[in-house]
Amino acid sequence: MQKTEVSKKIKISFELNNRKINMDVKPSSLLLDILRDELGMKGTKPGCNEGECGACTVLINGNAINSCLYLAVNANGKEITTIEGLVKNDGTLDHVQKAIIDNGAVQCGFCTSGMIMSIKSIENYYLSQNNNVKNKKKPNKEEIKKWLEGNLCRCTGYIKIIDAAEKVLINEE
């Protein structure tokens, strides 16, 4: 059992974008804050800080969560992926990122990294469902919209974002 006081920090270790991280965090630190302020992952955006807007979405073990409502101590032992982790070592973008660009689904860009992480989590979900299955399941447009309900965009009207998600999740083989 780990015990700690306000002044004391707590040791955690996790994988961030395939890199092992060991660090000490305050008991009340949020994942969003340590990602941005201590680990330099500024692609994860602080938006509403209330779990409404999804700008701070990151993946924990492949699933999308709001990093503004997630205690940093609970990252212990997990695999965390931020938008920075999607780029391949040679600098090429992930196909979700490419689809967002190709569809012109970015205006101010503030929601974009959260949106991409959410689309990535849909892809991860279907990959896990389709493991060793002959007839691969795919989401339909309504299901994609439902998956993206926790991500707000105040510029694009969503159409191009959903088009990009459809391209990756439905049209690509």
Binding site: P27, G51, G54, A64, N66, S118
Partner: protein, 295 residues
């Protein structure tokens, strides 16, 4: 926001901690999606959060079938509830409430125990669990267990029967008496948008019928229109032994009035009391009207 933290790794460690903290200030946090918001708005001094999300216990974190009951561990996240086969087949009202709770990101982290113990008057899972007449299993600091019906668990706005040094361990729901095709079960949530919405009004219904459409068991509960989620006893009694396909318009009105009479909503930023009552009346009628249309 500043607090101490305790991170038990098992239920036994949690029980030890509750005993240690008997006379100290603490809050239990599971997914912490509500707790973080609350502590950010109203920080508390010298607070310890007992963070139960790292408890590694199969029963505490999952759903299982046991002796004609479905037992849901209090630490089960909402995603597991809306995708679990037993829940999907037997309790559509719970599945629909879970599916419409907040957003995917929050459903990954938020737990059923958190939703129950936060005791929001608009708690979506609470509403469905009331319609299902669920029982709550509670454990105290000495390891003693007790069971309480969710219908008797809520004492006021965000006040529950859970005493200091107790925690919610699991939720038990009796399997249906009838097979799923003779069940009429669902969850209606009214709000200004479909997602991320705190309900203006919600209504959960779970009705079991015999082969001739006669109601043999009914559970009806509504949210966001009283200090707690409310179970509409008289509306359930009204339906028993009635043929659900042969209800006349005046009977449907009478049924809706049996729900409405329990409502005591307030005006707030989401809706006025008048509007909530009107909507509750209309959706109450709609569940019976819809049944006649679709069967």
């Amino acid at each position: 926001m500043n607090f101490n933290i305790e991170i038990p790794a098992s239920k036994n460690e949690l029980i030890e901690l509750l005993s240690e903290y008997k006379n100290k200030k603490y809050r239990i946090g599971a997914g912490c999606t509500d707790l973080i918001m609350e502590l950010r708005k109203k920080p508390e001094d010298d607070l310890t959060v007992i963070n139960i999300s790292q408890i590694n216990d199969e029963d505490f974190n999952n759903i299982k079938l046991s002796n004609n009951k479905i037992v849901i561990g209090a630490n089960t996240n909402v995603v597991k509830i809306c995708t679990n086969n037993e829940v999907v087949t037997n309790f559509p009202t719970l599945k629909e409430a879970a599916q419409n709770l907040a957003s995917n990101q929050i459903r990954q982290v938020a737990t059923i125990g958190g939703n129950i113990c936060t005791a929001s008057p608009s708690g979506d899972l609470i509403c469905a669990l009331m319609a299902l007449k669920a029982n709550l299993e509670i454990i105290d600091f000495a390891g003693n267990k007790r069971s309480v019906s969710i219908l008797e668990f809520y004492k006021g706005v965000r006040i529950t029967d859970l005493k200091k040094s107790e925690f919610l361990s699991s939720i038990e729901i009796d399997l249906n008496k009838v097979n799923p095709k003779n069940m009429y079960s669902g969850f209606i949530k009214i709000g200004t948008r479909k997602s991320m919405e705190c309900s203006v009004v919600s209504l959960a219904y779970h009705i079991q019928l015999n082969e001739n459409y006669k109601v043999i068991s009914a559970g009806l509960a509504f949210g966001a229109s009283a200090p707690t989620v409310i179970f509409a006893y008289d509306a359930c009694d009204f339906l028993i032994n009635k043929n659900i396909t042969e209800l006349k318009n005046n009977e449907i009105d009478e049924f809706a009035n049996h729900i409405l009479k329990y409502a005591s909503p307030i005006d707030d930023l989401r809706a006025t009391a008048w509007y909530r009552k009107q909507v509750l009346f209309n959706i109450s009628k709609s569940i019976l009207e819809e049944f006649s249309k679709t069967n």
